[in-house]
């Protein structure tokens, strides 16, 4: 009996701890002093997450025409510096094993991307560019991913290792271990603090994303209009960079930022928060660091009987379909989902000894109103949590692989 009592007390404290976990900030989140009202300095980017030089570089890269085939954005690169990979060339690429350590498939963006990657692998295997593909999923756990990478190295079966790191600093030594094993290493999406890999593949980046969204709001809204920022969660670099860029741009504008809210991308939370802001006054614009739940935010305006805001969502189809139906003033910033194709293609190129860019910066163009119908048309059979710029239309298994997920 006493034991069960202790168990219950333990469960009760566990309850509290876990309640906290579900909404708590991950490590490395900025100090609470950021506040979330304008009076608390919401328009000064947090120094930890803002790098002026990188910001300027990304803003400039948006305007640069990438090199590469025009209709294959996943093969394009912005200002590439090609490096020789002949030391990694092997005689029988059709038997080569490519290993992929994935951070997770814990959100629809990653799910969409991973499907595209698997279909790309099928195409490469058919062409005899690679032989076998193995993947491991770390479920957002750094330790798991470190041991996944170690296992690939220890097995000795991998002819190339692709890594999509779950976090930057923690995964750096694991990536270096993989490099030391002598096989070519390809890192994509989030980066690591090392340049030992053969190529690092990523779209332009978070600053460009946040700036695309913020610039649009500044252009479309009258000076003095109010903007509400909806963020997923703090402490994740790609998301923090988006917000830092927006803070920079809003700070130089005449717009009034009402504040920012963390939503975890949960529709119910978004709808509730937006409703509460609407009770207190007008909201003319919505800036989001990712489009998850954008539709729920718009419904809060519908239910409150207020006109739709000018909104920056993402190329997620539920949002884009709403955009078309309601003829919103909107933009869909894009964190290029087609980047999931590039690493496996790069692996094939490296194993064939072909040159690849040392830093392979993929284009990252937002979808604007004039392209909306085209992208909706192309993705008409796709589920609503699919990303319009997934770039897999020419791959085997299209469209079933993406529709029957």
């Amino acid at each position: 009996m006493r034991v069960s009592r202790v168990l219950l007390a333990g469960a009760a404290s566990l309850t509290l701890v876990l309640t906290a976990c579900t909404t708590d900030a991950p490590e490395g989140s900025p100090d609470a002093d950021g506040g979330n009202g304008e009076e608390n300095g919401a328009l000064t980017p947090d120094a930890e997450w803002f790098d002026q030089a990188e910001f300027d570089a990304q803003i400039a890269q948006r305007e640069i025409t990438p090199e590469g085939p025009e209709d294959e954005p996943w093969m394009q690169a912005i200002e590439p510096e090609y490096i020789d990979t002949s030391e990694f060339a092997i005689d029988d690429p059709e038997d080569a094993t490519v290993c992929f350590s994935n951070a997770s498939v814990s959100n629809p963006w990653r799910v969409t991307g991973f499907i595209t990657m698997e279909q790309q692998v099928e195409a490469l295997v058919d062409e005899g560019r690679i032989g076998d593909f193995r993947s491991s999923d770390a479920a957002d756990d750094d330790n798991q991913q470190i041991s996944d990478i170690q296992a690939f190295v220890d097995s000795g079966d991998c002819d190339a290792i692709i890594i999509s790191p779950s976090t930057t600093a923690t995964l750096t030594p694991a990536v270096e271990t993989a490099c030391e094993s002598g096989v070519p290493v390809i890192v994509f999406d989030r980066g690591v603090n090392s340049d030992c890999m053969v190529t690092f593949i990523h779209p332009i980046g978070g600053y460009a994303y946040g700036a695309d969204a913020a610039d649009f709001l500044v252009e479309e809204l009258e000076p003095g209009s109010t903007v509400l920022a909806l963020r997923i969660l703090p402490g994740v670099d790609v998301l923090e960079h988006r917000w830092a860029a927006a803070q920079q741009i809003f700070g130089d504008s005449e717009l009034e930022v009402l504040g920012f809210e963390f939503t975890e991308g949960d529709g119910a939370a978004i709808k509730d928060l937006v409703s509460q802001h609407l009770q207190r006054g007008d909201v003319d614009g919505i800036w989001m660091d990712a489009g998850d739940g954008a539709v729920a935010g718009l419904e809060a305006f519908e239910d409150a009987g207020q006109p739709y805001p000018v909104i920056a969502g993402e190329d997620e189809l539920s949002f884009m379909r709403k955009w078309e139906e309601e003829e919103l003033t909107a933009i869909a910033p894009v964190y290029s989902n087609f980047q999931w194709r590039t690493p496996v293609i790069a692996a094939g190129m490296i194993l064939a000894g072909e040159e690849v860019p040392a830093e392979w910066i993929l284009p990252q163009d937002p979808i604007r109103e004039d392209e909306l119908d085209d992208y909706l048309d192309r993705n008409s059979d796709m589920p609503s949590l699919h990303y319009a710029k997934f770039g897999g239309e020419d791959l085997p298994g299209f469209p079933e692989a993406w529709t029957d997920r």
Binding site: L16, T23, G34
Partner: protein, 351 residues
């Protein structure tokens, strides 16, 4: 018999016990939070904002009622958050925007809820797996199964007919503007639960939570009563899923962490973990308090990163305050134990 821990001395007696129990504390807390909200946002108590609050709070109230049934019988149900998520995803996939599918799918969801509740209940009572393990297992199974089934990204869409319950209401009501269906459903669920707890079944449930050995000796079929409590919880989670899905549509994150919010609400209402004490009203007030707290944090522009900390502190403070006043006395069976050493061996067979 220990059923008497809950005074049943007529209407005035119940009213008195209501104020004396944890219900008193949570009521004070709720009023306090509402007062602070009112100072921040005086228009909060005009009809429409209040109804918006009710619409948002209704699913948690319903979940808390379900959780109450299980907790009062001496068990836990950790599976409700995953169940809500699973139900919304299943609904979206099966309805896929077809109006005609709305009610068949809601029927199917209720059947699925019934099944999950039965499994939770029977595994806990007949296989003697502690409920915290059983429902933790169910939670993971449902979470994983939905992930597997959908590949991480829910597909399909809910019909407008489905969304009516969580999103719309009776329009044109004087003062209130709109009377949300969600509020109506939550009130029906609360009244139903209050009546249920006054029925013989409710008394058996309470007795089971207080001391299942004694309850068994006095003729309560403990396994059946507890299983039904789990079924009740899962059905309530299904109703909550209809409301939550209706409120905000389908996202991949729907339902995450709700089980802990629901347990928090019930605990805050002064329903003792371990069973045998507490009222439905307290659980409902607990749920409203948690939602009001979220609203308050938002009104105060409290950084969202610090909100869970504030939430935790307030909960601990409230429960500590209540127990210091003696509101949350230890359940009868614990205080009595030294006088009945022979109860020990019998009791250890529990669960």
């Amino acid at each position: 018999m220990t059923v008497e821990t809950r005074p049943s001395g007529g209407r005035s007696g119940e009213l008195l016990s209501l104020l004396r129990s944890g219900t008193g504390t949570v009521t004070v807390l709720l009023v306090l939070i509402f007062v602070v909200i009112a100072t921040q946002n005086p228009s909060f108590f005009e009809g429409p904002p209040l109804m918006a609050f009710a619409k948002k709070a209704a699913p948690l109230v319903i979940l808390a009622i379900g959780q109450y049934l299980v907790i009062v019988s001496g068990e836990f149900d950790l599976s409700v958050g995953s169940l809500v998520g699973a139900q919304v995803v299943i609904a979206a996939r099966l309805i896929d925007g077809e109006e005609a599918m709305t009610f068949p799918v809601i029927g199917l969801m209720l059947l699925f809820g019934l099944l999950v509740g039965l499994v939770n209940g029977l595994v806990t009572t007949l296989l003697k797996v502690p409920s915290i393990i059983t429902t933790l297992g169910t939670m993971l199974i449902l979470f994983g199964a939905v992930r597997y089934w959908t590949g991480g990204a829910p597909t399909g869409a809910l019909s407008e007919g489905f969304r009516v319950f969580g999103r719309h209401g009776l329009e044109g009501v004087p003062v209130l503007g709109q009377l949300p269906w969600a509020l109506v459903i939550a009130v029906i669920a609360a009244v139903g639960a209050i009546l249920l707890m006054r029925s013989p079944f409710g008394r058996s449930l309470m007795a089971t939570g207080d001391n299942d050995t004694a309850a068994a000796f006095s003729g309560v079929r403990v396994w059946r009563v507890r299983t039904l409590a789990f079924v009740g919880s899962s059905l309530m989670a299904t109703v909550a899923a209809v409301l939550i899905g209706g409120f905000a549509g389908v996202t991949a994150q729907v339902g995450q962490g709700l089980e802990f919010t629901a347990i928090t609400a019930v605990v805050l209402g002064g329903v003792v973990l371990g069973g045998g004490r507490g009222t439905v009203v307290a659980a409902v007030l607990g749920a409203l308090t948690v939602e009001a707290l979220f609203t308050l944090f938002n009104q105060l522009y409290l950084p969202s990163t610090i909100q869970p900390t504030a939430q935790g502190l307030i909960i601990i403070a409230a429960v500590a305050y209540a127990s210091r006043r003696g509101d949350l006395r230890l359940p009868e069976r614990l205080r009595r134990r030294p006088a009945h050493p022979t109860e020990q061996p019998l009791d250890s067979s529990r669960r």
